[in-house]
């Protein structure tokens, strides 16, 4: 038994799976022990979940030693490279923070069930597979593991109508988009299967990204099936990242889902889908990048425009943040456009994308964390008016809110600015002047709606709203989130290096 385990770990590459194994083990553990816990001991589930995240993080940290060689395991279906480590750590950090922020939220909502944390860990494991999968099947399964966990989590407040509505909407549209994506994958599989394999030294499975990439390259750009696969895969993933025109679900789901889950969906799910999109664009679709640059640029512009203008009139902060996150997607997509346009833009553009995704997670979770701290029994605290006079009621929460809003808007010296800086720089380097002008000018409406939130928190009278009570865990989360948001703006060097590290592709891909 032990020997078999050792063989599995060392020879078959099971070690590459360790981060995911840890998450799943702890999730199962939570499901087992949840029934033994009294109501007042439910916080134990959160501790278990945090422990799982921690162990998974340790395994991930150990994997860095081999990541430079890009070990690939399980019959070429799992790749551990810096790209995966980078995204994996974003998922783990986001998961940890969401767990911390959930404890009090669930307690107040009286929905303190162990499944919640188990589902969060399952979702996280799914995301890990999305980033590390080097095979269509693994990627799709990862995506579905994540998505199904999220459908349940979005409707976790069973007594709340909005939560139920959000879950159903998310499920229907999510299933639809998964279907489109699966259709695209099946075409890719077909393309891969039709490739003449006699030229290869090693016979790779038909679903392996390298095989398909080669097949796409052979067919060249302009091929109908390749374009069809591109369109369907892109559409499926645009759904997941909530890019226009596939964004309609986002505001409703964001508004209805429990706030920690909103934060989780808007950060982790989006980042994971970006990881998958990037992996596919950089391998399978890289040979035909001339075909998708304009597509991505169009979607990016549409997302920026719609996201920014729709957010202007929202009165619900969660909806406003939903639209604003659509506009952030636009910026990240612009970074991908620049990266694909020229060898010089590749480094800056991808650095920008990675940096942006990293800091986007912190500032967005931060913004939602403030909303979570406002939540009371029966009050969700997500209307603009709920923020009135927050500064008088809780200077700490108001200050934290200001930092995140400034960062989201892209005002230096905060992290959001540096992210936008890299993306604008990459656009200018690659000659996309018009896109750069759009990207820069859209900072202005963004500032307007972010500062509507700030104005309500600082400049309006408090009214009779209750004092927010910030728990120790929330303070801890605020501390981490603020630290990264400020540090990545004032001294971005280590974060830029981290982003650059994620671009080290041992599997042979080296940009242009």
């Amino acid at each position: 038994m032990l020997k078999a385990f050792q063989t599995f770990m060392q020879v078959d590459g099971g070690g590459l799976l360790l981060p995911e194994i840890m998450l799943v083990l702890f999730a199962l553990g939570i499901l087992l022990t949840d029934y033994l816990l009294e109501d007042r001991d439910k916080f134990f589930n959160a501790l278990m979940a945090l422990l799982g995240v921690m162990f998974s993080g340790i395994c991930l940290w150990q994997l860095r030693l081999v990541a430079d060689r890009g070990p690939i395991g399980f019959n070429y279906s799992l790749l551990v490279d810096p790209f995966f480590l980078f995204f994996g750590s974003i998922f783990l950090i986001a998961t940890g923070l969401v767990i911390i922020l959930s404890v009090n939220y669930l307690h107040v909502e009286d929905e303190n069930h162990g499944e919640y944390y188990a589902l969060i860990l399952f979702a996280c494991a799914g995301m890990m597979f999305m980033a590390s999968g080097y095979d269509l099947i693994v990627q799709f399964l990862g995506l579905e593991t994540m998505a199904i966990s999220f459908y349940v989590l979005a409707g976790f407040l069973r007594k709340d109508k909005r939560s139920n509505e959000s879950a159903v909407k998310y499920l229907l549209l999510g299933a639809f988009s998964s279907g489109i994506l699966a259709y695209g994958f099946s075409i890719l599989y077909g393309i891969g299967a039709m490739l003449d394999k006699s030229a290869f030294e090693v016979v790779l499975p038909r679903t392996n990204l390298d095989t398909i990439s080669k097949a796409v390259e052979v067919r060249g750009h302009g091929d109908f099936f390749v374009l069809l696969a591109l369109a369907t895969v892109a559409a499926g993933l645009f759904f997941k990242i909530a890019a226009v025109p596939f964004h309609q679900w986002a505001p409703d789901v964001y508004e209805g889902a429990p706030t920690p889950i909103t934060a989780y969906i808007s950060v982790a799910s989006k980042t994971a889908s970006f990881a998958l999109l990037l992996r596919l664009l950089l391998t399978v679709f890289w040979p035909i990048r001339v075909d998708w640059i304009m597509l991505i640029a169009g979607v990016a512009l549409a997302s920026l425009t719609l996201g920014n203008f729709a957010a202007l009139t929202q009165t619900n902060v969660k909806r406003m943040l939903a639209y604003s996150s659509i506009s952030h997607v636009g910026y990240i997509l612009l970074g991908i456009v620049a990266a694909a346009s020229s060898p010089m833009g590749f480094l800056t553009g991808m650095k920008g994308v990675a940096f942006y995704l990293f800091v986007y997670g912190f500032m967005t979770i931060g913004a939602f964390a403030v909303l979570i701290s406002l939540q009371r029994q029966g009050i969700i605290g997500d209307e603009l008016d709920d923020l009135n006079g927050l500064y008088r009621r809780s200077p700490l929460a108001a200050l934290v809110l200001l930092i995140f809003m400034l960062s989201l808007a892209g005002i230096p010296p905060l992290a959001g600015f540096v992210g936008k800086y890299f993306i604008l720089q990459a656009l200018i380097e690659t000659g996309h002047m018009r896109l750069a002008i759009f990207g820069a000018l859209y900072i202005v409406p963004a500032l307007y709606y972010y500062f509507r939130i700030v104005a309500h928190a600082y400049l309006h009278e408090p009214g009779n709203a209750p004092l927010p009570i910030i728990t120790l865990g929330q303070k801890f989360a605020f501390g981490i989130l603020c630290f990264v948001t400020v540090a990545a703006g004032v001294y971005p060097e280590p974060f830029v290096r981290l982003a650059t590290y994620s671009l080290f592709f041992p599997a042979g891909f080296s940009g242009h």
Binding site: P412, Q425, I428, V444, L447, F451, L459, P492
Partner: protein, 556 residues
């Protein structure tokens, strides 16, 4: 002390920040402690900045940017923490610390609620403004340029008057539009120069080798940020709102220092970015001068129609700052140095006028002109100081405004008589609206019974106003010390942007060797053939009598 000697700019820059951090730890309800600490650190900021004046070397061999400091900040993009000042920024830095201390003192009794936040934000604002004038790195410059919007937003939004929310966000958005376009300009400059550094002198020097079309584009990319900040004529609409709604001290800083960031930007960035091609440059310069003239006349005419005193002074800033941009784009030494002097003057006189209106507002809680009349009876000293400030603002000889406006007009005269005539007409209008305002508010019988027993100035108000009055007289009577700081940078800038200027002067001077006039398309580098270095005879004497070009004694 040793640290101070080697890092004097850092100390000046971050003294207010230290004050803000100290204030963070003071309990919220001890308002007097906030006032004392706020004033203490603002005053300390002024004290530590004063040694800059006498330590600044006027020796021609000294580097242009003095007190340099540089440290790596973000190596991966080439941004440095690099500070340094030349004569122009020196004057503006001193203006900032000086007006900062005065306006913080003036808010002692005007600000009654949320004193802690007020002083923290004000000190942070000081840091931002000082940073803009000191930065020699584009990235750092942009950071300070943007970061200072946030405290100003709150100063207007929290402590402003009725329409403060609207004015605050309008101010923020307007300035932001210009800033983001400038960011693109900075990035384009950085990319076009193929640079790995954001060092300003390096990047601006390399800009002179670009082709004309990208130089034109770069100029306009930077133009919006500065034109909105100044504000130049079509971009001025944020200013009356922001000035009128801001608390007194906010208006003083807004008019005194913030607007100068725009003119400073024009001098520091836009002039070096002017295209080398004479036709393209002529076109841009003409546009700039024409909108400056429009600004002068339009601002003055709008002032005539104002019912609110503060709004009147706000619009007068549009007119006065248009004088500054006119002087800048005359591209002559007199125009340029006059413009800098006029910026200082405007900070002093308009600052004083805003303080005086603040004094009235604190007593009556209204600023409508129709509410007042005959104030010189209950408040004679107030009326006297108000008179001096008005006269200084309208450019009466022996007061500071005259020096600036006269020098600018002289510089403009060398370029075009027509522009000068229009600008002089603006001075007449300026006298009209300021004196008419004075007449309506101060002279005649006391029409409104609630004005009968208004108290005259108190000691603290004297303390804020008298230094300004002294400076008005000093600059008006003996401005030479100020001009001396400007000679060197002005010369370098004019040499670069208007290479024909000194050539023509030399041709007119008999002492000069028959050197060819420099090619107009010369790239503006100092050691070009036909463009003599600083020590060539005759070069630095445009007026031919052996004094440096910007000396005021020449003109008198």
């Amino acid at each position: 002390m040793d640290f101070y000697n080697t890092h004097i700019l850092t100390v000046v820059l971050f003294t207010p920040l230290v004050g803000a951090l100290v204030l963070l730890f003071v309990p919220r309800d001890s308002a007097n402690a906030h006032r004392v600490i706020g004033n203490l650190f603002a005053f300390l900021g002024l004290i530590v900045s004063l040694p800059l004046i006498w330590r600044f070397s006027l020796d021609p061999g000294a580097p242009r940017y003095q007190f340099p400091e540089s440290a790596d900040w973000i190596p991966s993009i080439g941004a440095h923490y690099s500070l340094g000042i030349d004569g122009i920024s020196l004057l503006l830095v001193i203006l900032t610390t000086f007006l900062g201390a005065i306006s913080i003192l003036s808010s002692w009794s005007a600000i009654k609620m949320r004193t802690k936040e007020y002083y923290i934000l004000f000190l942070l604002l000081q840091v931002g403004m000082l940073g803009v004038f000191m930065s020699l790195d584009f990235f750092l410059f942009y950071m300070f340029w943007e970061v200072m919007l946030v405290p100003m937003y709150f100063l207007i939004g929290v402590w402003g008057s009725d329409r403060r929310l609207y004015a605050a966000i309008k101010f923020f958005l307007y300035t932001l539009i210009g800033s983001v376009i400038m960011l693109l300009g900075i990035l384009a400059l950085y990319f076009r120069a193929g640079a790995t550094t954001f060092d300003m002198p390096t990047l601006l020097a390399s800009a002179s080798h670009f082709d004309t079309s990208s130089q034109v584009l770069l100029f306009w990319a930077f133009f919006f940020a500065f034109a909105i900040k100044v504000p130049m004529f079509p971009f001025h609409t944020w200013l009356p709102d922001a000035h009128t709604e801001a608390p007194t001290a906010g208006s003083v800083i807004l008019a005194g220092v913030l607007l100068k960031m725009g003119t400073y930007g024009f001098i520091r960035f836009s002039l070096p970015l002017l295209p080398q091609d004479p036709a393209a440059r002529h076109k841009i310069v003409t546009i700039m001068m024409v909108i400056s003239i429009i600004g002068i006349i339009y601002g003055a005419l709008v002032c005539m129609m104002q019912k609110d005193m503060k709004k009147l002074i706000a619009y007068s800033s549009v007119s006065h700052l248009a004088f500054c941009t006119l002087g800048i784009f005359a591209l002559t030494p007199h125009g340029l140095s006059g413009s800098v002097i006029q910026q200082i003057n405007h900070g002093i006189s308009t600052g004083a006028l805003f303080l005086l209106i603040g004094v009235l507002y604190e007593r009556r809680h209204t600023r409508l002109i129709s509410e007042f009349g005959g104030l010189s009876t209950p408040m004679p000293n107030f009326a006297a100081i108000y008179m001096i400030a008005s006269l200084s603002s309208l450019g009466l000889p022996l007061l500071n405004g005259f020096i600036g406006e006269f020098t600018i007009l002289r510089g403009t005269y060398e370029v075009s008589i027509r522009y000068t005539a229009w600008a002089s007409f603006g001075i007449v209008l300026g006298a009209a609206y300021l004196l008419w305002l004075y007449q309506r508010v101060m002279f005649g019988p006391v029409t409104n019974p609630s004005n009968e027993h208004l108290a005259d100035l108190n000691a603290r108000e004297y303390a804020t106003l008298l230094p300004l009055v002294i400076l008005m007289f000093w600059i008006g009577i003996y401005p030479k010390p100020l001009f001396r700081f400007l000679e060197r940078p002005v010369e370098e800038i004019v040499e670069q942007v208007n290479p024909g200027y000194y050539g023509a002067e030399r041709a007119a001077s008999p002492a000069t060797a028959p050197a060819v006039a420099p090619a107009p398309a010369a790239s503006g580098v100092m050691d070009m053939p036909g463009m003599p270095g600083m020590n060539m005879p005759g070069m630095e004497m445009p007026s031919g009598n052996g004094t440096a070009p910007a000396h005021p004694p020449d003109m008198k």
